[in-house]
């Protein structure tokens, strides 16, 4: 990535800026942390491509307060242990603004370190409510919460008048959180929950689960988790001729589920952030992505772009690179971004964010259903 010499120059530059001796040659480092490898690396690709584009465009427009933004990329493999290592590396490298992490279970432990060390973090993808429940000052997100996504999914399922619904999750923070929200919404609506149970993330054989679903005679199955497991469940369910309709959160909505499930992915229901790349106002940006040969349609591309933009605008508004002052500016401001108008509450959550239900197709495309 960067040569030691360049790192040294940056370090000197940063220390000069910190001392207040002068800001002319300084760069502002933005740490981008997400999975470059591992089972959910395709989401990481979305995140890195969105953030890189924002940095490039902001620099082309003259940077932030006359300084260039520099993206420093870290791989957390969507593994909580690795995320902590990454967070410590950021501290050592003197990074003061972070776009990341992606998986809620990584963001949670990493944000403890950022908060302690005075680093501002904007996660473009982590939807677990617990992340912003701790009263942290420096934690923000450009995505909604499971507590918003769950009810959208639950209400949609309830509107289909199902007889019996099974709710399955992968026992992880993200999956179980969202599955619980869906179950509670369904219960409130008087829908019968035939089963609510966890599976082990990483396991491959779901034949017993599928037989159990068949016996329970459910017509809808909600799965809280990521695509590697749901893909296998779909495929094995199709082979065992289970004719229930499956639904999942945005963690299952990417083209890799088609690789795993094949034809069985047809008709899967997914809650996703709205397709920001379809918005009229973003067409110029979409073309910029396409010119680079990148796909802006992933759910986290433009949220990552927005995360970088918010950090940049926060710095300009605060007229300071002090993360606490930038956080203050973000809480008090209103920002026009590719994902719409962003306003923050005290916790660091966006005041409004909507999820949309899509029907997934076996060729990897999707159509909105509500």
């Amino acid at each position: 990535m960067r040569t030691p010499v360049k790192k040294l120059v940056t370090a000197i530059g940063t220390s000069i800026a910190v001392m207040g001796a002068g800001q002319a040659a300084a760069e502002i480092e933005i740490g981008i942390a997400g999975p470059m490898t591992g089972p959910v690396a395709q989401y990481g690709d979305m995140q890195f491509s969105g953030a890189r584009m924002a940095i490039e465009q902001i620099n082309a427009d003259g940077g932030v307060m006359g300084e260039k933004l520099v993206g420093v990329e870290y791989d957390d493999v969507c593994d909580p242990k690795q995320a902590v290592t990454v967070a410590n590396n950021m501290v050592n490298d003197g990074v003061r603004f972070v776009v990341g992490h992606l998986c809620s279970s990584s963001t949670q432990p990493a944000s403890d370190i950022y908060e302690d060390e005075g680093i501002l973090m904007v996660t473009p993808a982590s939807t677990s409510p617990a992340i912003t429940e701790r009263g942290y000052e420096l934690v923000f997100r450009t995505i909604g919460l499971d507590s918003m996504q769950g009810p959208v999914a639950g209400n949609y399922l309830a509107s289909l008048n199902p007889e019996r619904v099974a709710v399955i999750h992968d026992k992880q923070q993200y999956g179980e959180g969202i599955a619980t929200a869906v179950r509670d919404t369904l219960k409130d609506k008087g829908v019968e929950i035939a089963m609510f149970e966890g599976i082990t993330a990483g396991s491959k054989d779901f034949s017993s689960l599928v037989s159990k679903l068949k016996q329970a005679d459910v017509d809808y199955v909600y799965y809280g988790g990521y695509h590697p497991e749901l893909g296998l469940i779909l495929r094995q369910a199709r082979q065992a001729e289970l004719d229930a309709i499956f639904m999942g959160p945005e963690g299952v909505g990417n083209k890799d589920i088609n690789t795993i499930a094949g034809e069985a992915a047809e008709g899967l229901l997914v809650t996703l952030p709205p397709a920001f790349d379809q918005k009229e106002a973003n067409q110029e940006l979409v073309e910029a992505f396409e010119a680079k040969g990148e796909d802006p349609s992933g759910p986290f591309v433009l949220t990552s772009y927005t995360a970088v933009q918010l950090i940049a605008e926060g710095i300009e508004k605060a007229e300071s690179t002090d993360p606490f002052e930038v956080a203050e500016a973000l809480r008090n401001g209103t920002f026009e971004t590719p994902i719409g108008t962003v306003e923050y509450n005290e916790a660091g959550d966006m005041k409004s964010f909507e999820f949309v239900v899509y029907e997934w197709h076996s060729d990897g495309s999707k159509t909105p259903v509500n």
Partner: protein
């Protein structure tokens, strides 16, 4: 038949299917342990490499325009067996033979290192994402039930049973009848003595690794097709389960590995069928601890004097 008993049979079928593949992989652990008393932790990776090789062969044939299913399966099987066997042989030659006879922890660490090496090698060579296996054997037949619940066995499950049965029978015949099989038994009883009596023990040990790897490759192809997708970590959990099966049945004993695999598979499917999938591993490993408490050598293991 009542629905409850159909459901029970269905879960039994699911458990036996997965259990028979555990047994196939477990053979590799148990044979190596029986002969040189070490645990080959890289065995799960050999199985994963078998699955990858099979997938590469299938994709290759598809690009060549071959569409006759039996031919594709046979070629994939042969390729997987050859590559995995070569890998098993190479691993033994490179990582275990040089340290054989030293303190018993040294080959163990060498095996763990080999496992990490192979996993990362495949990560780099093939990428870390899931790769899909094409759906090749579809459909199944119903063995009873009505509209509310139908018990069914898929043709894929039957393929797994039949293939495993053939492999196990062939292995048993090979061990009991062939010259190398006899030598294997001799070496497992007393390596030093077998050596004195003119058996090339290095060759027999290498053969053990090759046989174990070949069976793991068969399991790799079968499970790749059954699950429908593979990734470089595919071997790790399967290896762990198979190792558990080997210990459960009595490590060092071939019938023990078969029995252990089936028990583990059935206990997993029954747990997720009647309690909850979340407790699957809790129950299987709890069972292992219980059996080892009352029978430390495993179900069919012989008490041994000095071998770890």
């Amino acid at each position: 038949m009542s629905e409850a008993s159909l459901y029970f049979i269905q879960q039994l079928v699911n458990g036996l299917t997965i259990g028979s593949t555990y047994a196939l992989i477990a053979i590799g652990y148990t044979m190596v342990y029986g002969i040189i008393g070490m645990i080959n932790f890289a065995h799960g990776e050999i199985y994963m490499i078998g699955a990858y090789t099979a997938l590469i062969a299938i994709t290759g044939l598809a690009t060549l325009g071959v569409s006759w299913l039996p031919l594709i399966l046979i070629v994939a099987l042969v390729c997987a067996v050859i590559v995995s066997s070569a890998m098993g042989w190479a691993v033994e030659r490179a990582a275990y033979r040089p340290v054989r006879g030293r303190h018993r922890l040294i080959p163990l660490i060498s095996a763990i290192g080999m496992s990490i090496f192979l996993q990362n090698y495949v990560h780099l060579a093939q990428g870390s994402r899931n790769i899909g296996f094409p759906l090749m054997i579809q459909g199944g037949f119903d063995f009873g039930g009505d509209d509310t619940f139908r018990g069914s066995i898929s043709y894929m499950q039957m393929t797994i049973f039949v293939t495993t049965l053939i492999c196990m029978t062939a292995l048993s015949l090979f061990i009991s009848r062939s010259r190398i099989g006899r030598a294997c038994r001799a070496v497992s009883q007393d390596l030093g003595m077998a050596n004195l009596l003119g058996i090339d023990t290095n060759r027999i040990i290498a053969a053990t690794f090759v046989i174990g790897a070949a069976l793991a490759a068969v399991a790799g192809l079968l499970l790749g097709m059954y699950y429908g997708s593979i990734d470089p970590l595919f071997g790790f959990i399967a290896g762990l389960k198979a190792f558990t099966a080997a210990v459960l049945g009595g490590i060092g004993s071939i019938p023990g590995a078969m029995l252990g695999g089936l028990i583990l598979g059935v206990s997993e499917s029954m747990t997720s069928g009647y309690i909850s999938g979340a407790y699957k591993d809790v129950v299987s490993f709890g069972l292992l601890i219980l059996i080892l408490l009352f029978k430390p050598t495993g179900l069919l293991g012989k008490p041994e004097v000095e071998k770890i």
